[in-house]
């Protein structure tokens, strides 16, 4: 095979290759125009005083943006801390909840599976703006249903959105509506686990819980891994919910200052494109760092044995 490949290409092969490149070209152009070049450009911008409002030429500003980041900027520090506080709940939730829901939907004892699957997935297609306004009402201090339910069982509900201790649980409650996708993917993966494995384990005397942790989870670990990566990326691009809630003063301002909200303020409200680029790179480096860590951890817990390699 390899020897054959090395031989000079036939005219047909060459022609095929030309067609292939033509068909590939939209992506190549898009990747350059909206991917690679902007990434490099944003790094260059981060060293300049670029402002869209001023007509003046862009000038190198002697590392002032980066100096500001490392010496003066306390907002970004708080924003990153807020992200960690949020992620501490969001990350486990984004794996455990879809996993449990998928296990429930995969249960042989569940009647009406497809209806439940549809209903649990459905909020995923709800526009984020609608979800936010509905949940803001649900989380209302007096008339919100969550606090009213709590009152029924004798608990005085908190001020979810203004109290800095409750804002992260509240944001995560709002985020629950987006877990349908992960749930479906995990469900499909669970359905793909060979039944022989379960039968063998049953013969060996493993109960349902043992089977779930010793067979289901390892067998679907590639899918868990994939969803973990997507969740981490999602956390570093978290913007809409805190932005919309703080814009109309519904939510605690300090606690909802996330890196992307800060980037938006600097770049698009204050027009400081240079500093916005610095912030973009901070987020980029953090996101990449987290992603690489997860990739490195993969070999300890992600099981690829079932996969056929081509």
């Amino acid at each position: 095979m390899a020897v054959q490949k090395k031989r000079t290409m036939s005219p047909l092969m060459r022609q095929q290759r030309r067609w292939g490149l033509i068909f590939l070209s939209p992506w190549v152009f898009g990747f350059l125009a909206f991917g690679l070049i902007p990434i490099i450009a944003s790094l260059i911008f981060s060293f300049t005083d670029f402002r869209l409002t001023s007509g003046e030429a862009i000038q190198f500003n002697n590392f002032e943006n980066w100096r500001r980041l490392f010496t003066q900027d306390t907002v970004i520090k708080d924003a990153i801390l807020n992200t960690l506080r949020f992620a501490a709940i969001a990350l486990p939730l984004s794996i455990v909840m879809p996993l449990l829901l998928a296990a429930l939907l995969n249960s042989k004892y569940l009647f009406g599976k497809s209806i439940f699957r549809t209903l649990f997935y459905m909020p995923y297609v709800v526009p984020i703006i609608s979800a936010i306004y509905i949940w803001r009402g649900m989380l209302g201090t007096e008339a919100g249903w969550i606090n009213r339910i709590l009152a029924e069982i004798g608990i005085k509900g908190p001020n979810w959105l203004q109290d800095a201790a409750f804002i992260y649980p509240a944001l995560n409650i709002i985020g629950l509506w987006t877990l349908g996708n992960a749930m479906l993917i995990m469900l499909a993966a669970m359905q793909g686990v060979p039944t022989e494995l379960y039968e063998a384990a049953k013969v060996d005397g493993a109960g349902p819980i043992r089977r779930f942790f010793s067979i289901t989870i390892p067998m679907i670990s590639p899918v868990i891994f994939y969803n973990l990566i997507l969740s981490v990326i999602g956390i570093f691009r978290y913007f809409e919910v805190p932005y919309i809630l703080r814009e109309d003063q519904s939510a605690n301002q300090a606690a909802t200052m996330f890196p992307n909200v800060y980037l938006y303020k600097e770049g698009f409200a204050l027009n400081d494109m240079g500093y916005a680029s610095v912030l973009a790179w901070v987020i980029f480096v953090l996101a990449m760092g987290a992603t690489i860590l997860i990739f490195m951890s993969a070999r300890f817990w992600v099981y690829y044995g079932a996969e056929e390699r081509d």
Partner: protein
């Protein structure tokens, strides 16, 4: 030697003993089905409860929302009884003889002393009751305000009307669907069928763009669109989708791999060039995946908030619904009923689309998620 009779007795014994455990097992199974399904039902109700909140709130007036804060969750008014040109409020009271009646409270009542009129016999002298006013149980009358939806649909002075916002959204979404389907289709075709230099590496880079945070390209892309004079137009929301997207390319490629190559080859022998093969062989075979990609993009465009926020600020008449509805939030600040009505109208389109086309959605999600 003794196998024959032994077997006979065991089968007989089994059939006799098994009738009871089989019955029990069935009962146990049904019990498990019942409890698991009930649990799922409770869970899904909790999960979808906010829709009920939104729907009920959208039917309320401001006064009914205040009532609801402590009273019933339904859109209700205090029932009244008209007497001599006055609207008297009805209360459910227990009379000293233990009888429960709905009575109308007369205005001469005080905090401690209630003078109540019997609506069934209003000419009779008022009934005197020694009950503190806060202890009176109001009689509620269901009164949903469906006209909230009409009010929102018609809008108010100085705001862009919902039909216009919806039309904007549909147009942006449809152009984007055309772009992303066409471009992702040809790119996926290239990956699925043609020899390319460094094909694996290029494919990995493509998939890698999924985990690229958008912020890192945001500022220069924005600057580019501003420089092109595209800010304040739909172009930044549409044009980038004409350059393929990793998810969609992946979805198409996976699907194309399942189409037998023999079909291509047959067409090739008939003299079709690769573009003709794509149009005549591949695309007609790919209806489900084209539907899935179109639906994903339509819902994405309908729900996208960030890009319209960047590029269409200050252009209310061009905004899609996601941004437009935010202005309703400020205008309807004190009228949650109207806001929730607008919220429900906004989410109706993607949710209805999902219910109608769920097969395509589900398949698409599963392919992108599991195959990776």
């Amino acid at each position: 030697m003794t196998t024959q009779p032994l077997e006979l007795t065991t089968t007989k014994a089994r059939s006799h003993v098994n009738t009871v455990p089989a019955y029990f097992r069935q009962l146990k199974y049904m019990g498990a089905v019942g409890s698991v399904t009930l649990f799922a039902l409770i869970l899904v109700s909790a999960y979808l409860m906010p829709f009920a909140y939104g729907a009920l709130t959208s039917l309320k007036t401001r006064e009914q929302i205040v009532t609801s804060a402590n009273g019933p969750i339904l859109p209700v008014d205090h029932a009244t009884f008209e007497w001599e040109g006055q609207q008297l409020q009805l209360y459910r009271v227990t009379l000293p003889d233990g009888e429960e009646r709905e009575l109308a409270r007369l205005p001469e009542s005080t905090l401690r002393m209630q003078y109540m009129l019997d609506p069934e016999n209003p000419t009779a002298p008022p009934i005197e009751l020694e009950i503190r006013r806060p202890q009176l149980q109001p009689v509620w009358k269901l009164n949903p305000h469906w006209e909230n939806f009409k009010l929102v649909w018609e809008g108010q002075q100085g705001m862009v009307r919902l039909p216009r916002l919806m039309l904007n959204t549909i147009l942006i979404a449809v152009f984007g669907v055309i772009g992303t389907v066409m471009s992702s289709l040809v790119v996926a075709y290239a990956f699925a069928r043609f020899p390319l230099p460094f094909k694996r590496t290029i494919f990995l880079v493509l998939i890698g763009t999924i985990i690229l945070p958008r912020q890192v390209t945001l500022v220069p892309t924005y600057a580019l669109f501003v420089a092109l004079g595209w800010k304040g137009t739909w172009l930044p929301l549409i044009v980038p989708h004409f350059f393929a997207n990793a998810y969609n390319v992946f979805l198409f490629r996976q699907y194309f791999m399942t189409i037998p190559r023999e079909l291509d080859e047959a067409a090739m022998i008939d003299g079709a060039n690769p573009l003709q093969i794509l149009i005549r062989v591949i695309i007609p075979q790919s209806f489900p995946v084209i539907m899935a990609v179109s639906l994903f993009h339509f819902v994405y465009a309908w729900n996208d908030y960030f890009e319209p926020l960047l590029y269409l600020q200050g252009k209310p008449e061009l905004q899609p619904i996601s941004i437009g509805i935010q202005n309703y939030n400020y205008i309807y600040d004190q009228q949650q009923g109207l806001l929730q009505a607008s919220v429900l109208i906004t989410l109706l389109v993607p949710v209805a689309l999902f219910f109608m086309m769920q097969r395509f959605f589900m398949q698409g999600v599963v392919v992108t998620g599991v195959d990776k």
